[in-house]
């Protein structure tokens, strides 16, 4: 059976502020620059999730798109869209950088029951993107 990779992109908008309690105010400003603005700022994030696996001979699919979209609605969009990331449990102990956001989204979609997560990529802006894959074992997908 052929193995293929299916990628789906989800759009969400959220605000954040890069700030670490381990730094002084001056260190935070030096490290994060304008991203440390106390009032926060926001992005239109694009979350791209890639699933790999055998293509089912009956359906022609790696996984059911309706099931994946429903999972994303509940576990990604309803939790993060139109929110301030810094107020969420996921960023209580870690800075709301897109690196940390990418790893959090990877943890979320790794629990999708119907297919194997191969990679998560988040575009913070059209110039910045971040990718995370378990063990970075595969450049595929």
């Amino acid at each position: 059976m052929a193995t293929a990779y299916l990628s789906r992109r989800y759009h969400l908008s959220a605000s954040h502020r890069l700030h670490s309690d381990a730094y002084t105010a001056e260190q935070n400003r030096a490290t994060y620059g304008k991203c440390n603005n106390p009032h926060g700022h926001g992005h239109n994030y694009i979350v791209e999730v890639t699933f790999g696996g055998p293509v089912d001979e009956a359906t022609g699919m790696v996984c059911d798109l309706g099931e994946l979209d429903a999972f994303a609605r509940t576990n990604l969009l309803e939790r993060f869209d139109a929110m301030n990331l810094n107020t969420l449990d996921a960023f209580r102990d870690v800075v709301s950088t897109t690196e940390n956001f990418t790893m959090e989204v990877h943890r979320i979609f790794a629990a999708f029951p119907s297919a194997r997560l191969a990679r998560v990529k988040i575009e913070e802006t059209s110039n910045n993107s971040f990718e995370y894959a378990d063990r970075m074992q595969s450049q595929k997908g």
Binding site: L6, T59, M61
Partner: protein, 136 residues
């Protein structure tokens, strides 16, 4: 080794249906994609080939030649066609994005001189795409 990617576009109609299932089962699994009248997409195809750079030409492959191969093997067969009804490989396989990527790989494999097929990526729409690397 260098990777080189060429894009092409085709617009096609399709529907999702498995002949061994009842109408109800098809509609349960495939939802509105099971509408037998079909619907369509503007597909974008990205073909990535891998090879060594020719020391004289500086090319991995001649892009014009690659463009002509994609046109002959894929675009002229798929563009402005109904995939289920007019493209032979989808008489027995559901024309999902995954299966389209696999079918295009099979159409192109071994036909590109001096380079190895590395990846076939098919976008059904900007937010949904499938990749195939020839893995069986």
């Amino acid at each position: 080794m260098i990777l080189l990617t060429r894009k092409a576009e085709f617009s096609s109609a399709h529907f999702y249906w498995n002949d061994s299932w009842s109408k109800e089962e098809n509609e349960r699994v495939f939802g509105k994609c099971a509408n037998r009248n079909g619907h369509g997409h503007n597909y974008t195809l990205e073909v990535t080939v891998a090879g060594e750079v020719d020391p004289v030409s500086g090319f991995v492959v001649d892009l014009k030649q690659l463009k002509d191969i994609l046109e002959r093997e894929v675009v002229s067969v798929y563009d402005h066609r109904h995939l289920n009804l007019e493209v032979p490989e989808f008489a027995t396989r559901v024309p999902t994005t995954e299966n389209i990527a696999i079918a295009i790989w099979e159409r192109l494999d071994g036909k590109i001189p001096n380079a190895k097929l590395h990846r076939v990526r098919v976008y059904e729409m900007p937010d949904l795409f499938a990749d195939y690397y020839g893995e069986r």
